[in-house]
Symmetry: C2
Amino acid sequence: MLDLNTTVLEETIDPNNWEELRATGHRMLDDMINYIQQSGDRKVWQPIPAAVKQELNTVAPQGESDLKEVYASFQQNVLPYALGNTHPRFWGWVCGGGSATGMLADMLAGAMNASPSFGEHAANYVEKQVLDWTKEMYGFPKSSSGILTTGASLANILALTTARNFFNAAIRKKGIRNLDGQLVVYASTETHSCLQKAVELLGIGSEHLRKIAVDENYQLRIDLLEEQLKQDKTNGFLPFCIVGNAGTVNTGAIDDLEIIAAIAKREGMWFHIDGAFGAVPKLLPEYTERLKGVELADSLAFDYHKWFYVNYDVGGVLIKNAQAHKEAFEINANYLAHHERGIIAGELNYNHLGIELSRGFRALKVWMILKEQGVEKYRRMVRQNIQQANYLAELVNGNASLQLMAPVPMNIVNFRFYRDGLSNDELNTLNKEILMQLHESGIAAPSFTILKGAYVIRVAITNHRSKAEDFDILVNEVQRLGERILNRN
Amino acid sequence: MLDLNTTVLEETIDPNNWEELRATGHRMLDDMINYIQQSGDRKVWQPIPAAVKQELNTVAPQGESDLKEVYASFQQNVLPYALGNTHPRFWGWVCGGGSATGMLADMLAGAMNASPSFGEHAANYVEKQVLDWTKEMYGFPKSSSGILTTGASLANILALTTARNFFNAAIRKKGIRNLDGQLVVYASTETHSCLQKAVELLGIGSEHLRKIAVDENYQLRIDLLEEQLKQDKTNGFLPFCIVGNAGTVNTGAIDDLEIIAAIAKREGMWFHIDGAFGAVPKLLPEYTERLKGVELADSLAFDYHKWFYVNYDVGGVLIKNAQAHKEAFEINANYLAHHERGIIAGELNYNHLGIELSRGFRALKVWMILKEQGVEKYRRMVRQNIQQANYLAELVNGNASLQLMAPVPMNIVNFRFYRDGLSNDELNTLNKEILMQLHESGIAAPSFTILKGAYVIRVAITNHRSKAEDFDILVNEVQRLGERILNRN
């Protein structure tokens, strides 16, 4: 009812009818729990019809719509055309599957509408607790600093920025032209492209990211690293950082982290590790030796939405030298000045540890899932995925039509369909066609890469819903498609 | 039941009991809808008790827990200690209040677990549609490029990176030491600190962000900009970018965007606008003139979680030169190569337009809220907030104990409690004490800043739940606290 005594009718974007909102919300929740529960019952992926793309290409809505209609459009045009990474047979790139608990946590975070940054509120403490748990899992001391990010890409950027600004504290003020030489960073050719992006962003230039060749196990060649370092020092370059891989994106290779740590120490350089997914087996006793170097790093980039199966997006970085971390990013502005009491009295200021002032409460889903599952369960889950990779490698090795294309040090299997008499180019074309048909069939979704000139089908297992039988289905289907394509040609 | 024929009992992090999960989920949803519905019924903010902080400072959980217990801990230790920005009387910094629809959208996004990046899936098209709508609202041509980010901080970084790499395409490969001069950026002293962070990150150095003084309206002084430009060119510097403010963080001042656009054009420089919240009134006919320059910019950073009231976190950037945007960030990796068909066949590749490969589906909440509310409703809401700012300014001007401390060009009001005979230092101490007690009382939450040496209470109205009476309460309370503190001293 309009009160005629008020001159302005004040509006809000809250619902006019809360009970209707509530009913719609509960229906959504039921649908979404069904959607997650039935992850394996639908096709992994299906193409988007032209009519749907047209619906997603209309002008801005001017008038109001009922939430039920908006939801109907979501159900019709969005939900059916997902990437597929919630499915038990999705193993493309390095995607996690998410969980119902993660979804509910995002709902709770959305209700609080928290931004863990400055100020005295619980979200900051939840983020700190998650980071402290992360330190425990990766063997970093509690005195380390850290921050959550949207993922390892940003985390790598924050680590390299800290390394750069630690190398020379005047860089923040004077820029890198003020240095008396060119900064250089070292990493293997198998390093993720986000590291190149980081080096470009920081103004260093991609040609000063020295991409060191790898050996037959796709591990950085230490001899070539030493050679390059020597040459660069002779030529007046400024080597300030070595990036080691705990799990390369192509094959899951782990660089000789302990040796790299020793070289970095000897040279007074920063040692950063990209452990987006591959530092996670640090939880397992059987990887203690191979991942020992993780705890020797100055900084570690990691993801939670990959091998911890947390819903997108959340990753982060740990930095041992807390002071260096803060000094790399802290800026004091009048409108953010610390107070002794009240909302701005908090001692946790994530705005001083990264490049974002507003930040979503992505810590909550990690916090809830880790509390619910516990570290022991993760130990079993990560081991299960590695066992599945070994199982798949055995299936491939036992099949005369398939070829294993790289060692399997962890959770990634690269293989291809093979037939005597076909050239490498013909095999590449054939395997690419198999992969595209596999996607189109909706049966399974590995991805692909190029290894030593060969197009390979790449299976990265960071999927908590996969079972052994799913890999049987994959192998059968790749063989069936390969034979069929060959017979048709 | 354990099947003795299988050698491995495969686990998942999906719930053992889906019906229990469903019941807990529905209870959470009811609680959260109540929480949002009752936003105004609780204190804006309350301090976190030591016992709660202790609960949020325990070691990593090893064993499994019931989701109900995890939720109980959330209810006890997290939810009650929010920042307060969902409350009708929260006006601190520039925070939005979020909405129930946004929360539900985050739930839907969490279920899909989408990462809009590469590949052919609906999330990419939803993000594109949201960006196209954004272009319409801000007067950018449809041929512009853009990407959503966690907020304007990252958006400003992406814009400056594009500007820098467009200035000299060799920077990506060779770095900025290869240039024959020092890059410089121009912006007013009132510019947000995230621009300084951006300039530092990019290796340019903060002293090469020329902070141009402002006039009495807190607008960049064009004469001083021209002078600095001339001097820098004479001294061999490389001016490549001017940043204009559409709404400064302290007072909401709008720089002379059209004049700056003309200068940038004349000098062949990139013109970027930080419009985090202050470009939003572009929706209003009464701001057409003052915000005309927005459509002249080469790039615009904006937020959705501020004045569009969308839940954290989501902002973005629009870039007119789509080619320059892509060329600033695109990297082609073997494991991401485009295919003709299948999952990787999509033409939308947000990984090529920014610095993140994994990215949350933050587009969905914007999409749903804009569809539900429509642009016309936003016109009314934004106008309402501006009217409330004017109403508050009138209350301040009509009160002998209060002093308006800056012009109110938009939605931000700066004022202080004033008493004849007190020095500026004494007034500063007094007003800071008033603000802290205001926070502690839980009645209202403005923030603060320093303007020309004066500590001021700063009210930034990007709150869709505020009503006129809330500002009456604020003014009465500030006056009451001021008198009480004076009487006690």
